[in-house]
Symmetry: C2
Subunit: 282 residues, 2 copies
């Protein structure tokens, strides 16, 4: 496994694979890796000849009051984990490599699918995501890029921009990896106190309960109300509890597949999760 810190170095490392027309798989991450990330890499290894994992805490997707400065940087530990799952190349550039002076003047903006949910709660977040993903995809030029479904809206945004800009690759969405108690794995789980960590699985448990209620015929609006109430009662400060179609279109009734979305804070830590509920015509 090689580690490259410059665009030029990565290009040189990938040159033999590209010349041999090998399938390149790409997993973009912000590091501080957990089993969720490693499952993305395993999926990439299954489908591709060469797997590149980027580790880059992207400043442009953090808001001014968010955790960019404190976001955990654990490159040495990440390297060991990636070596164990067969990653071929780590791309760990500096901020200056990707945002050189004097200034990046180009923005990639995806409208529609960025208006709601985290796009609404974190203004500018998906502009930063769209820019860095476009840059990284152009640098790595993979055939497949792998994203976790925990960040459901991010997957929709990235698929939209890849489609709209005719980027020559396919985005693969990989199911969320969870702890035994259901908590979606996230680097931000590391911020939780022991007590908060006990409460955190309530998100997924209440999403499962909501699924059952929908299948039992309870109205969508009522199900969302119950979900909110359960989370408030457990000690969460709710950012949003919402339902959209898998394409992030609005919907008011459970008359097609629906995705339930939760973003909620425990203390200072913001957690997100989602669950796709299949519509079964009766």
């Amino acid at each position: 496994m090689k580690t490259e810190t410059t665009i030029h170095g990565l290009a040189a490392s990938l040159h033999p694979a590209r010349s041999a027309r090998k399938l390149i798989g790409f997993v973009p991450t912000m590091g501080n890796l957990h089993e969720g990330h490693l499952n993305l890499v395993r999926e990439a290894k299954n489908l591709c000849d060469i797997v590149v994992v980027s580790i880059f805490v992207n400043p442009t997707q953090f808001g001014p009051n968010e955790d960019f400065d404190n976001y955990p940087r654990t490159l040495e530990q990440d390297s060991h984990l990636l070596a164990d799952v067969g990653c071929d190349i780590i791309f760990a550039p500096t901020v200056e490599q990707l945002y050189p002076k004097p200034q990046v003047k180009t923005k990639v903006l995806v409208s529609g699918v960025t208006d709601m949910l985290c796009g609404h709660s974190r203004p500018g977040h998906f502009d930063g995501v769209a820019l860095i993903v476009t840059k990284l995809l152009n640098i790595v030029q993979p055939s497949y890029a792998f994203f976790g479904q925990k960040d459901f809206q991010q997957v929709v945004v990235v698929k939209q921009l890849v489609h709209d800009l005719n980027m020559p690759l396919e985005i693969i969405a990989v199911p969320t990896t969870r702890s035994a108690d259901g908590l979606a794995l996230s680097s931000r789980n590391g911020y939780l106190t022991a007590e908060q960590r006990q409460i955190a699985p309530t998100i997924y448990q209440s999403l499962l309960a909501a699924e059952t209620q929908l299948h039992d015929g309870i109205a969508l609006a009522d199900v969302l109300e119950t979900l909110k109430h359960t989370l408030c009662h457990a000690g969460f400060e709710i950012d949003y509890v919402s339902a959209y179609t898998p394409d992030l279109e609005h919907l008011t009734q459970f008359d097609q597949d629906v995705v339930l979305f939760v973003a909620a804070k425990l203390g200072e830590t913001r957690l997100i999760d989602n669950l796709k509920v299949k519509f079964i015509a009766t």
Copy 2:
């Protein structure tokens, strides 16, 4: 020479060249080709193994009161011209191929270098250019793409976005092709009446006169005033007469290389031209 009208067809046509890792050159055009375009193709043939020319009148770069509907479409004539200069593949997609329904939701916006000149006169023009160029570059995936320096600002915008988005190719700017009387070749010259066509070369002639004045030590502001006056007097309605550095930075004195820019209308026809004037330290 092949003509492809779909993204899929173009990919199939390019597959053998791509597999053989041949150098692909790309010349994006809006058709109605003249010697200026053909010189871009010749330049591409010099540098590359395979040359793709796109012919697409891009709706998103025209303003609501501009000439999108009337822009000349002359595919058959263009095909003959391209065959003669050795073009390998024409890509002539429909609007639906590049802007499929329901909607392209992604924008590529380049700031700074789009604020002035045509960016100011034609709001949204460079947003449309940036989007279509990004799409076409991703579809063709060339090693080199060729643009005419007549559209100087367009070249700066395209180079900026290719740099900022880390697109894996090089932009080649090709000098403006001119008639014997100096008029920069442009599809829009075809709109001119015989009388207007006699007046049109005044743009380039007055740019050359301005160059001489600058080298004679006349102040930049005075040179620009004279240029405006000459054009008004010849019957032009001036859109802008301005000077910037080659990177489109502001400047007030001729103390470095300067590019003089003109956009002016004869009747309904808007013509643009520019001249780079070398600074020679004395």
